[in-house]
């Protein structure tokens, strides 16, 4: 078998239609082993459908999709031996203990009884579930349940771990618990593909990022380059008095030498700040000089919405010189 020399994931023109809806539209993607890949996109972009294709749960209507060289339709049985899936809902049995859940899944991966017990014990230790392992999972916190679900996808030691929105619906503490667990797995050498609609989640976990919109890849590359391409930090000012909104906008635009976006309802002005913190200082000084009263002021990362706007805008344009070096931008005419 030459599968080890093949890319981890290879998608060629993958199209999935549900009736009249096209969930994936000629999706192209190549991912090498040895990394955490984040698939970013808004709700309905096709992220979950792509994961379900990789997990052999959905058959592409067209195109080819391979995991380590094995076709997800023709070699589905072999693909299933290589993957572990943790879907959007924690698929653990609430009336069973954490340990029982893990042992059951280990048996279903093909382990014998003793090996299943060993695998379950190792995962319990690894994911820090010792204290709750012998309690019914119905008593778990959201984060514990997610970690157990993560563990269940790991007891067969998969070559590719698929995580579909691993922290959606979790509180911040649970969220960082799951992040820590995912980081630990990646450090131990598990290849991971995760979907998310949080930019900071990709930021925390991923090496490589693929951005999907309307069922196709609109950008792909290392995370650092994606971040560079979606622009600089944003200066945001919230004025106390709506009357002074345009005065504030003028100052922000002048300092950043760009377009300031005004939101009259929120009394909010924002603009990309190529100069970073230095420009923030300038804006503060000028606002004070002009006696513009401010409720809130700061520098923040662009939101995913702003990133999408930047990316989809660029993908629609024919001027590819806008694409930063290293980041493959996939246009709509390919």
């Amino acid at each position: 078998m030459r599968t080890d020399s093949r890319p981890l994931i290879e998608a060629r023109g993958v199209t999935v239609r549900f009736g009249k809806i096209t969930a994936l539209n000629r999706l192209e993607l190549t991912a090498e082993a040895g990394q955490v890949l984040a698939v970013l996109g808004p709700n309905g972009a096709g992220k979950t459908t792509f994961v379900r294709c990789l997990a052999t749960l959905v058959r592409p209507s067209n195109g080819e999709l391979r995991v380590r060289g094995q076709d997800v339709v023709r070699d589905a049985a072999r693909v299933r031996k290589d993957i572990g899936l943790a879907g959007q809902f924690a698929a653990v049995e609430p009336t069973m203990t954490g340990r029982e859940n893990l042992e059951m899944t280990a048996r279903l991966f093909g382990h014998g009884g003793a090996a299943a017990r060993r695998a379950a014990a190792a995962i319990i230790e690894q994911l820090d579930l010792d204290e709750v392992a012998d309690r019914r999972s119905s008593t778990y916190s959201g984060g514990q349940r997610r970690r157990l679900d993560l563990g269940a996808s790991l007891v067969g030691s998969p070559r590719l771990l698929l995580l579909d929105e691993p922290t959606t619906g979790l509180d911040p503490v649970s969220r960082s618990e799951v992040w820590a667990a995912v980081r630990g797995l990646a450090a131990a050498g598990t290849d991971i593909l995760l979907t998310t609609h949080y930019l900071d989640e990709a930021d925390q976990l991923a090496d490589q990022v693929v951005v999907i919109d309307h069922g196709r890849v609109i950008a792909a590359g290392p995370l650092s380059e994606l971040k560079a391409s979606i622009g600089q930090d944003v200066i945001e000012v919230v004025v106390s008095d709506a009357e002074q909104l345009s005065a504030a906008a003028l100052i922000v635009a002048q300092v950043t030498s760009g377009q300031a976006r005004q939101e009259p309802t929120g009394q909010r002005v924002s603009a990309p700040a190529p100069g970073g913190p230095g420009q923030l200082g300038e804006v503060i000084a000028l606002l004070a000089a002009a006696s513009v009263a401010v409720d809130e002021i700061g520098l923040r990362r662009p939101t995913l919405d702003e990133a999408f706007l930047a990316l989809t805008g660029a993908a629609d344009s024919t001027d590819n010189s806008l694409a930063p070096a290293g980041l493959t931008r996939i246009g709509s005419t390919s």
């Binding site: 299933r80 899936l85 009336t95 093909g110 695998a119 190792a122 790991l154 067969g156 131990a188």
Partner: protein, 260 residues
């Protein structure tokens, strides 16, 4: 971060026996550990039996036999039609809550999903059969024949439970959610009530009798009544219905699981 090293990769996919066993074990644990399923299911069945026996029973004339002796064998034989809603709901919940996805992403034979569920739900139905039969005796039912005949009748009831378990699994797989599964399973009531199970079919209006006569529940319950008295009328027809339902619904269940 070395713990992953102690988790090995299994060399082989699980055998169908092993996988079915795990699927069944989990469904049984859920049933036993959820009092709403294991206890309330029986309470509900007994309340129905009580109502037929003591509330409606007095107004129903079952010919030569007393109503309790007419009712109990048929009620026990068709108990799966009342408990089956729970099967459909459980299957639909597994699908909606991602459990089925997890199973389907594992290197497990698709047959073992159906087989495991069937083993588990047939087992819970044996529990329903035994407990309702016990209450049947408490409410005044007596075996008309030998105890061996009683065992044979019990065997038939178990066979019906297995067959209809598969039918309800299919309903659960086609239902978009648990509520819909509950609703779909109500169709079983039509077959239960418009049959010779609770009233003699001859007491129904003429236009309704053909439905009662040619649907599977009537020969099934009549076969149980017959076996209890040491005869075998309708047994062949009842078993033929069982075979037909299994042959039709098993492939549907397996195919549907594939694209659940």
């Amino acid at each position: 971060m070395t713990a992953i090293g102690t988790v090995s990769r299994p060399a082989h996919s699980p055998s169908m026996v092993s996988a079915s066993g795990q699927v069944a074990l989990r469904a049984l644990r859920k049933y036993i550990r959820t009092p709403g399923l294991s206890v309330m299911g029986v309470v509900q069945s007994v309340m129905f039996l009580f109502s037929f026996r003591y509330v409606f029973g007095g107004a129903i004339h079952a010919g030569a036999t007393s109503y309790v002796d007419f009712l109990v064998p048929a009620y026990v034989a068709s108990i799966v039609l009342f408990t089956g809603g729970g099967i459909a709901v459980a299957v639909a919940e597994d699908k909606v809550q991602g459990f089925t996805d997890r199973l389907l992403s594992l290197p497990v034979s698709r047959y073992s999903l159906v087989l495991g569920r069937t083993i588990a739900d047939s087992t819970t139905n044996v529990w329903s059969i035994l407990s309702t039969a016990a209450f049947g005796f408490l409410f005044g039912f007596r075996l008309p024949g030998s105890w061996q005949d009683g065992i044979a009748a019990f065997g038939l009831c178990v066979a019906y439970a297995v067959v209809f378990t598969i039918v309800f699994i299919v309903m659960g797989l086609f239902a978009p959610n648990a509520q819909a599964a509950q609703g779909m399973s109500l169709i079983a009531f039509v077959f239960a009530f418009i049959s010779s199970a609770y009233v003699p079919a001859t007491s129904m209006p003429g236009w309704l009798q053909p439905f009662s006569k040619y649907q599977p529940i009537t020969p099934m319950v009549d076969a149980v009544r017959s076996v209890l008295t040491g005869t075998t009328s309708d047994v062949g027809l009842a078993l033929a219905w069982c075979a037909l339902l299994v042959v039709v619904f098993t492939p549907i269940a397996v195919l549907r699981y594939r694209r659940a």
